[in-house]
Symmetry: C2
Subunit: 564 residues, 2 copies
């Protein structure tokens, strides 16, 4: 059997090694258009910032080492320019010599990845305008920085790569501005959760121009001018990096008549087979099933790419492995902070037609009585009624990565959101609490499901009646209340509530808030026990304050194009 | 409704607060024989070591604060001395005044906890002999240390409390010796995994006398002599702490005729109801179902106690909540190391009659190319044939707590061990690898299930034929091999294997080892492709060396009673 693989990174490299382990006799050839194979895509921003000092750690595997170990011919600087399914060959161009040749296959695996989106804008070809996708891109940016010592950068786009690069450029002492078309960073997060990331970026001196659209680029004396739409003042910087997303690189597949799907991605079945016989495809270029909604989608993540590579290899070698879909589990270091998510956010869940609700909580990373614990903000999204777990987002410090992975596992296993309360996680004071944050989310959702808890949400804050038709109650201490509260809310600390019940009108619904949501929940239970109808604020004043403060900043940024 | 609760820690305190939240009108009385309620049991060793500096952080709730918030009468220094199910009362003794009285109930909840096991040994009553279970015990040890400045301590028992205390006493500069009857520390771990903990303890100067049985205590001039059985030399120290385990404190329940089970624990159904009407029980004193085996057992863990307290409260208030069993998820800080487990270890699985197998791997806590990653040792136990996930143990540094919780969630959700490969966990270089350690365990088990991988285990090392009837192959580099290898194994580095295949006898089974198990696996696949029968060493030489080195130390310790 002769297997040809297009693309030698992530899914392609994984598949090549796995095919060899399954079949010592197979002939395996990989064509990779860059100079590098099996490189650490996700580490590239950290090489630019110097966190990863040695470039060889990014490219541990070489064509030689791969051949020695796996007897795979890794042909770098070879670009496949056409597929010929009808005669089971591909056309390959040697980028060093210009020579073109046809290579035959018994099985073909496409792992072409995705390309940085390249908008059709004036000035796209100018120097000092970079993209960051490949090792070559990385070396290009790094060597420009090392030689030209730019003082400032504009990053177009507010996703993973952009934020990681922003952090690394800040660590190098550069001024960094992120321009993002939508009004928030990191669209996989709901706007409320993204607000925490935005605050952290600003806290570390990254300027955010949110809700701004890039309209073109102009070379200036030693720099670049980034033109913005809607008469916003242009941004000037010594360099610009375009990181506005990626698109599946499926020109070959499309030209060869393979069925294409969402965003031009290659349609595959759960065996990673394309519409053409003996052609498989994996990674950022393929259409996958969203594990939660069942809808077709594309994901550009290393984990799914690697898993798909292994599955394709199994099937190429006569096995029967199935890919069961992607849930979008992701994590991001943002300076000292960690932001992570899995499954659907609330916006996506609603867009998918699901009757979604969410709980927001602020648990400690470990037992409060053991030193060093930090508060995290956790949002768990579930389906009303069925309590199906739909997704989760967490921002915080220590322990964020742990909780998102527990939630990702629970989601994958099909657990209900209420069953999170039953998870028996490992507890000792340096690591967790006897009631882990994930259990706490389960308790909250269980309380909602049993009707013990009704919530009011941040979105309702602006429209709460201020005419006295409802009671607006803040159950924190007088000191906490004095430091900041929502207009119209009156203060009655939880521990004095029972003595002052007769001052409240049982005929009016009570909207309650405290700092984290716990004391207000207890207040709601007390009030319910006395016949009141109560709504507990999801997330507490801590959450309200963080999100609304950041929203004000974002609106300001939108108005003036840029702010600190 | 009037609810009486016996015991105001963990399960009892949780239940009291939950009952109030469910029923604002209920009368709730808690009798607690110590001075403290709702205290942080698991933090006590850290207060002795000064990690937790303020004793008030251990006892954040007071009877006053609990009454103010929850209208629960917390009667400390009140011991319930008898239950009278027939007339629905309990006899209570006020330990301050000596007064006895009877208190009636509609619902009774028993949360008496467990007591430190007190062996019948000579000298048990002497001073400087402590137990560590309650806040009072803690203050007693702490004040002895502060006043008498002991230089040395013997800890009898090798479980959680003992190891945590050993670390804390070492941090105070004391000489510490642990005596343990069985030949390993931490029996919830298999001996091979416990070896890593033992090494870490020794590395931090804790002396281990394993396989030694305490025979009694004698006061000496300013200290204690710990007598050992089998003519071993006694151990001398300035103080002794007994931490040889706990036993359910069920004298009251037994005397009142409630059904008792394993180790004298209180038998409850999944609603936490005892055999007597309107009497519930939770926590360390009750018999629970082992979630994996379905067998009756007892667990003394805070997480299950808290969950049971919430469930009992729901049912007391007319709800229907069920406890689905305990899986023993636990975690322990051992100086710089973390050790964690969930479910069954291999020994327990076999004892339960299961056809258990295990994979052992040494993955990095995060991507190797990002600085700061550390190797962990992971053992995942599963049932042969069905691939049912039975349990896992991990020792290492960063990221151990995360992986055990993911495995605990997968176990709880009923995932197969092979399905671990499908978990989509959140990957970015500072946190993980595109193939997470948990995925890697799934890949290995999947390979075993498909017959792509056969293993040989540490237990077989001593009995491998050295007569040339099998091939013993070490596929590491010549440098690695020179630094240490198993006698009888010859060196043929993986990357030279294909050129030297003709030197191997295809008629003989090949036992292969490398450093971590990866290169030897690839070697096995190459050899299998050429018709050889191959067995891959589970865990690699790194594991072999660590465990066997520690075994030699343990045997030496057993022989002389004590060693460094």
């Amino acid at each position: 059997m002769k297997v040809v693989i297009v693309g030698g990174v992530a899914g392609g490299a994984t598949a090549a090694a796995r095919i060899r382990r399954l079949d010592e006799q197979a002939e395996i050839v990989v064509f990779e258009r860059t100079r590098y194979i099996s490189y650490a895509n996700c580490g590239l921003p950290y090489y630019i910032g110097g966190v990863i000092a040695d470039p060889e750690t990014l490219t541990l595997q070489t064509p030689e080492s791969f051949y020695t170990r796996f007897r795979v011919r890794m042909k770098v600087r070879h670009e496949v320019t056409a597929l010929h399914p009808e005669r089971k060959t591909v056309t390959v161009k040697n980028l060093e010599t210009g020579e073109e040749f046809e290579e035959s296959y018994d099985k073909l695996l496409l792992s072409p990845g995705a390309r940085p989106a390249q908008p059709r804008l004036p000035g796209m070809g100018i120097s000092r305008l970079f993209t960051l996708r490949t090792v070559e891109d990385t070396f290009r940016i790094k060597s420009y920085i090392d030689q030209a010592h730019p003082k400032s950068a504009v990053l177009a786009g507010g996703g993973f790569i952009s934020l990681e690069l922003a952090e690394n450029l800040r660590e190098l002492g550069m001024e960094v501005t992120i321009v993002q078309q939508v009004g928030q960073l990191m669209e996989p997060f709901d706007p409320d959760m993204a607000a925490f990331l935005q605050s952290e970026m600003r806290r570390h001196g990254v300027k955010l121009a949110l809700g701004r659209t890039v309209d073109g680029f102009e070379e200036t004396d030693g720099g670049v001018k980034v033109l913005l739409k809607e008469e916003a003042s242009p941004l000037c910087a010594d360099m610009v990096v375009l990181a506005i997303g990626v698109t599946p690189d499926t020109r070959l597949a499309g030209a060869a008549g393979l069925e294409l799907g969402v965003k031009g991605s290659i349609v595959v079945n759960d065996r990673m087979e394309t519409s053409a016989p003996d052609i498989y495809a994996v990674g950022d270029a393929v259409q996958v099933r969203n594990f939660v909604t069942g809808q077709d989608t594309v994901v550009a993540l290393a984990g799914p790419a690697n898993k798909q590579g292994r599955i394709a290899a199994d099937n190429i070698c006569g096995g029967d492995s199935r890919y069961t879909g992607a849930q979008g589990s992701s994590i991001l270091k943002v300076f000292g902070m960690t932001a992570a998510l899995t499954g659907l956010n609330e916006t996506q869940a609603r867009a998918a037609g699901l009757d979604a609700d969410a709980v927001i909580l602020s648990p400690m990373s470990h037992a409060g009585y053991y030193p060093g614990g930090k508060v995290m903000t956790m949002k768990v999204v579930f389906e009303t009624g069925t309590c199906r777990l739909l997704g989760a987002q967490i921002v915080g410090y220590e322990g964020v990565d742990k909780r998102i992975d527990v939630l990702a596992a629970a989601l994958r296993a099909g657990m209900k959101a209420t069953e999170l309360k039953e998870l028996e996680l490992a507890y000792a004071p340096p690591y967790s609490s006897a009631k882990d944050p994930v259990n706490m989310a389960g308790f909250l959702i269980d309380n909602l499901a049993r009707g013990l808890l009704k919530q009011w949400r941040l979105e309702e804050a602006a429209s709460l009646p201020q005419d006295g038709s409802v009671t607006l109650l803040d159950t924190r201490t007088a000191e906490e209340y004095a430091q900041g509260h929502i207009d119209g809310f009156f203060n009655l600390p939880l521990d004095e509530l029972r003595e002052h019940l007769d001052e409240l009108d049982p005929g009016k619904p009570v909207y309650v808030i405290c700092q984290s949501g716990l004391r207000s929940y207890i207040a709601c239970r007390i009030l319910s026990g006395h016949g009141f109808t109560c709504y507990n604020f999801s997330g507490g004043f801590r959450f309200y304050d963080a999100v609304t403060h950041e929203r004000v900043l974002t609106e300001k940024a939108t108005a003036c194009g840029m702010d600190q």
